[in-house]
Amino acid sequence: MIGLVLIIAAAFFFPGLILRTKSIASGRKGPGIFQPIKDIVLLMKKGSVFSETTGLIFKIAPVVTLSGILCSILVIPFANQNALVSFEGDFIFFSYLLAFTKFFAIIAALDTGSSFEGMGANREAFFSMLVEPAFIILLATFAMITGYTSFSDIFSHFYIIGDPYVLIYSIMGFYVLIQIAMIENSRLPVDDPKTHLELTMIHEVMILDNSGFDKALIHIGSYLKFAIYGALIYNVIVPAGWNLFLQILLFLAVQGIFAILVGLIESFRARNKMNLNPKFILSISAMAWLSFIIVLILTDKLI
């Protein structure tokens, strides 16, 4: 329960922190830390406009997407407390729940019949397909280290098995999860949330037709996703057995540092060329494979 509350709390200041970091890095005054939340409140108050070509799918997609993301939070554990829902193989459930939300976003984009949104949906589907192995392989690695297949069990046994090589796994996990989080949330270097150029957009172009309340739901979903990945990163790098109060502070600190890191990455580099994205995403899968093989070697399963 604490985990759920903390993730939602982290999602509140996450986008604002990225925005503040980018403003400060570019020498601007910039908006306040809660500006994204204020924008959501504003969008909530507005009505939605629906194109004549759209149907039921387009109308239900934002709700389905957000509820899918909310459900996926339930399997994420916090500290040594079990997640609200926990069963064997729940990381597969988590992964496909997110894929399911993405599927709805994609068919909603296709529902508009716009050539732009079709193009964006095409890109999003392609890149999501490529990033999926990275996540599954990484989790498979964790499962192999610990011998469990649910998030709660994996993370509660991650640090207490007394494996001297745990640092390697956590660094690998940290790197891969950050990259996956950036791709899943359509940030640099794969996508640019700030761009106004329809032809270069991936995620943004898919939601061009969404307005008002629906758009607010989509934004909330993306903020939550950041916090969810932040929580996973936290679980990978902080041992589950520590004092609960310390853990809460550390959790918020990790989320904050993660947000600042995202802001800094977005400030000082340019975006990838579109045809480099598949290679870039595959390199993350390669990292996950690498950690998988390292575990195989260290646990004497390979040789």
């Binding site: 890095a25 020498g27 106004h196 329809e198 340019a270 975006r271 060329k273």
Partner: protein
């Protein structure tokens, strides 16, 4: 008396007596144009039709970059249903002019590959041809898809429609449809009799080139009215032109960085541009230099306070510009987005008749400041900057080089200006234009060669006015640049050219 073969004039000098412009038979005209344009150093700066009662007269101006001469000749026809042999198959740069003539007067050009409307002008020949029902070029195929962008865009940019035919992410063909900004500028120049109105009109041809177009217009009026301007004023005008170039080049670099999501480059360049345009504002009260250039004089003569401030801002800008350019052009993630993207080869640029930056980024040193000097550039030689590769990188690097050069030019001009006497000339709004004359005026705006041409009747009233913005030649270069590129690279290609929509639409 025999007609001379052709008549030659120079930029920013004297008008030509209309009678001395030779009228050729079309066959002779055809041969002469094709002969002249074989030489790479010559290019056609204008070819347009003038309708008088019962006849159509076509003027063609070809500039020789080696000796600064501009050759003017014409051909005349009295029939309305005109079919001429197209010059485009042998001189590709004329394609845009023939398209314009076809659109305005319904002249058929036999052998022209594609007489696509240029801008749907109000007085076009075929009124039934409308921008809404234009049949776009199509390729029928299951694998290909079309993407239409515009005319209203998501950013704050001008309206224009782009129709892509793509194979997946790869662009096979781009068709650019313009004309949404057509205001009938050329007709307004004749209708508006007040000299001041015309000045303001010229500043509004393209909002990002106010100084360039205003200077071209003022220079044209001075040529026709025989007004001499002092060297001090000429220097001030050159400074204004370079300030405009500097501001736009820096602003475009910011936009290019923004297009590839490089935030640092974008914000730093935006801040630098603001400093430059604010200096222009300090000088004349308008950030884009509106009101600064007027025929015969200036309402805002440069003062030594403004000059001091300008020097201070420039030296500061120069230092910071150097720093940020070092950052920008050494950042691998950004170079990956610029290099080998949107390549226009030298040969393509030549056959399109590209001018200005689009030509110089492909290694063609076409710069009116050097080849057809005007104002103070006559006694202040400028060496054109060139880049060789013709890609987005070359066009952005050229901006870097030209901006640095502009700072140098302004600094040197200010030093010369300080030694000159401050005889203040005020704008001249009452003038008598030479009757029955033909005059042209060219200026190297930041985008390239701007050309205004005017003709007067027997009473000295302007009865024909023609404007040519460099964008007119260069739009086709953009269409070629994105072929076989990824569609997601189109925005950065487009920005690297930064062509004017309203300059084309007039």
């Amino acid at each position: 008396m025999m007609h001379p073969l052709h008549s030659e004039i120079k930029n920013d000098s004297f008008p030509l007596d209309l009678k001395s412009v030779p009228v050729f038979e079309y066959d002779v005209f055809y041969d002469r144009v094709s002969d002249l344009l074989k030489d790479e150093a010559k290019h056609c700066i204008a070819y347009y039709g003038v309708k008088t009662t019962g006849s159509l007269k076509f003027y063609c101006c070809i500039a020789d970059d080696t000796n600064a001469n501009i050759t003017v000749f014409s051909h005349e026809h009295n029939t309305n249903k005109l079919v001429l042999k197209s010059l485009t198959p042998i001189c590709e740069p004329l394609q845009i002019f023939e398209r314009e003539i076809h659109e305005n007067f319904g002249v058929e050009f036999d052998g022209h590959p594609w007489l696509k409307p240029v801008r749907y002008s109000h007085d076009r020949f075929e009124q039934s041809l409308r921008i809404e029902n234009y049949p776009f070029y199509e390729i029928k195929s299951e694998e290909l898809h079309e993407v239409g962008v515009g005319p209203i865009h998501a950013g704050v940019i001008e309206p224009g429609h782009f129709r892509f035919i793509c194979n997946g992410e790869k662009v096979l063909h781009l068709e650019i449809q313009l004309g949404y900004q057509h205001r009938g500028i050329e007709k307004l120049f004749i209708e508006k009799k007040e000299p001041l109105q015309r000045c303001i009109l010229s500043e509004s041809i393209a909002g990002d080139t106010s100084i360039g177009h205003a200077l071209t217009h003022s220079q044209l009026i001075e040529t026709l009215a025989g007004i001499e301007v002092s060297e001090t004023l000429q220097i001030e005008r050159c400074i204004a032109l370079e300030m405009e170039r500097l501001a736009v080049h820096i602003g475009d670099t910011a936009a290019l960085c923004g297009d590839v999501a490089y935030q640092l480059g974008q914000v730093v360049c935006e801040a630098l541009r603001t400093a430059i345009i604010n200096t222009t504002q300090l000088w004349c009260g308008n950030r884009f230099g509106k009101g600064l250039v007027r025929p015969g004089g200036s309402n805002y003569p440069l003062t030594s306070e403004v000059a001091d401030e300008m020097l201070r801002v420039l030296s500061d800008t120069n230092r910071r510009w150097g720093e940020i350019c070092d950052r920008i052009y050494s950042l691998p993630s950004l170079l990956a987005r610029f290099e080998d993207i949107g390549v226009v080869s030298r040969q393509q640029a030549l056959s399109l008749g590209a001018v200005g930056m689009a030509a110089r980024s492909c290694g063609i040193p076409r710069d009116v400041r050097e080849t057809h000097p005007f104002q103070f550039y006559k006694s202040f030689p400028v060496k054109p900057m060139t880049c060789e590769t013709g890609d987005v990188f070359a066009r952005s690097m050229l901006r870097n080089l030209e901006a640095r050069e502009s700072v140098k030019i302004i600094t040197e001009l200010l030093a010369i200006w300080r030694k000159k006497s401050r005889d203040i000339q005020r704008p001249v709004y009452v003038y008598k234009l030479a009757p029955n004359s033909f005059a042209l005026s060219m200026v190297e705006g930041w985008r390239g060669e701007i050309c205004h041409l005017a003709m007067t009747d027997s009473a000295g009233n302007i009865n024909h006015y023609k404007v040519k913005d460099p964008s007119m030649h260069n739009w086709m270069a953009l269409a070629l640049a994105v072929r076989n590129q990824e569609i997601s690279d189109f925005p950065v290609c487009n920005k690297s050219f930064d062509l004017s929509y309203c300059g084309n639409d007039l």
